[in-house]
Symmetry: none
Subunit: 225 residues, 2 copies
DNA sequence: CAGGCGGCTGAGACGCCGCTGAGAGCGAGA
DNA sequence: TCTCGCTCTCAGCGGCGTCTCAGCCGCCTG
């Protein structure tokens, strides 16, 4: 279970490394495209985790080079929501699977296992929390099997919360990741949209998935409340 | 498991050959269309991997010739995203399956296995959504058994929607994939053509297959509305 | 017990999104 | 050359979605 991790954000890299190690992977870490190319050609890995945004050589270039050199190790690519290759499906770049930042660590592990086990890609799956189901591809949300109609902003907020289900996320985090980065308005919008979600997801079902953690932010219950 | 590989890019050809050999295939390699024709008519292969961009005789011509000569070996075609046959679905050229470069090696192997095993393409030949039927080979569309006449642009849009039926596709996605990549105009064209399709497919039958998902895009109902 | 702060809520203004009809431009065919 | 069909542009509109605002509630602290 040897993993090559290519990621330049040191903080993120470190936490992921620790997590993967705990999960039983042997992790090799490099921080730029050049080292990645060298490591991947020199050693044999079961899977490569490749950030698309890298200094010097972009992740995409690395992948291209690897394939050109006959290295066919499965590659899971990390893409940023607002990055240069924003809209592009990472499959188009020849990756075997991909995740969009920010991503759930558990999902990362599951995907890596799937890549190693099946030697094949797995389409991004649906996110669940109890009887709450969100399908990113279809932009659909269900609670207890019943379809819930959301506006784009509501959907974006819920997707973010579900990708971090169980975690407390601050209003600042939410604003950074769900709203336009240039958004300059008040935190209050988040409160308003949390309310909208509660009206559609919690109240009608007499449940409480969206929990307020006073002074800290919000948490989406892993079991759907 | 005999594979005939037709590819002129020597680097790529070599690495793929090595990979396929490792995967247990017996690989025969030729580098141009003439040799491909000769080899394919002279020997029996389980599957042919055919690059569309070839010196002398194009991959498309090779395929045409093969079929004309009664060689029905399954063909997996390799297409480039920006190539001459750019927008064209390789299915339209009579291929049994195709991959766009750059491609995942694992997917290539999976597709080849599928082609050999099932003796047919991975994807169904005719696309359906309820009583909506689209035949890519014949460029024909029917609703409830009744033929619908579409202009090329309308057809292209519908085919794209049907290949992604059930998913929400954004206007940007549509523009990228149905319109000329260099198209610089307004999103509004998409709205206009959605309207045209609705007039022909939905209104006369009092149905609604084409759903607007405000702020996100459009979705073709899997059941035809 | 009082004050303050964080979060909740209802109402409402504004602007953007998508829809629509008309028509200009263009190429193919008569 | 004229006609016809297809593609795309444009501008007006209606309405939904987004966000602001002000007042209120309740928790926490001193």
């Amino acid at each position: 279970m040897r993993v090559l991790m290519v990621e330049d954000e040191v903080r993120l890299a470190e936490t992921v490394r620790r997590g993967l190690t705990d999960a039983g992977f042997v992790v090799e870490m490099v921080h730029n495209g050049e080292d990645a190319l060298w490591a991947a050609t020199e050693h044999a890995y079961d899977v490569i985790v490749l950030d698309i945004m890298l200094p010097k050589v972009s992740g995409y270039k690395v992948l291209e080079q690897l394939r050109a050199r006959g290295v066919w190790t499965p590659v899971l690519m990390l893409t940023a929501k607002d990055g240069e290759y924003d809209q592009t499906d990472a499959f188009d770049l020849g990756a075997d699977d991909y995740l969009t930042k920010p991503f759930s660590f558990l999902i990362l592990v599951a995907r890596l296992r799937a890549l190693i086990r099946r030697g094949g890609p797995e389409r991004p799956v649906v996110l669940t929390a109890g009887d709450l189901v969100l399908d990113p591809a279809r932009k659909r949300v269900q609670r207890a099997g019943q379809e819930i109609l959301l506006t784009p902003r509501e959907y974006g907020l819920l997707e973010y919360l579900m990708r971090h289900r169980g975690d407390v996320v601050s209003k600042a985090d939410i604003l950074d990741n769900v709203w336009d980065p240039a958004f300059e308005g008040d935190d209050n919008v988040v409160e308003v949209y949390i309310r909208y979600l509660r009206r559609k997801l919690d109240t009608p079902f007499d449940r409480q998935a969206l929990e307020t953690v006073r002074g800290m932010g919000y948490r989406l219950d892993e079991d759907g409340g």
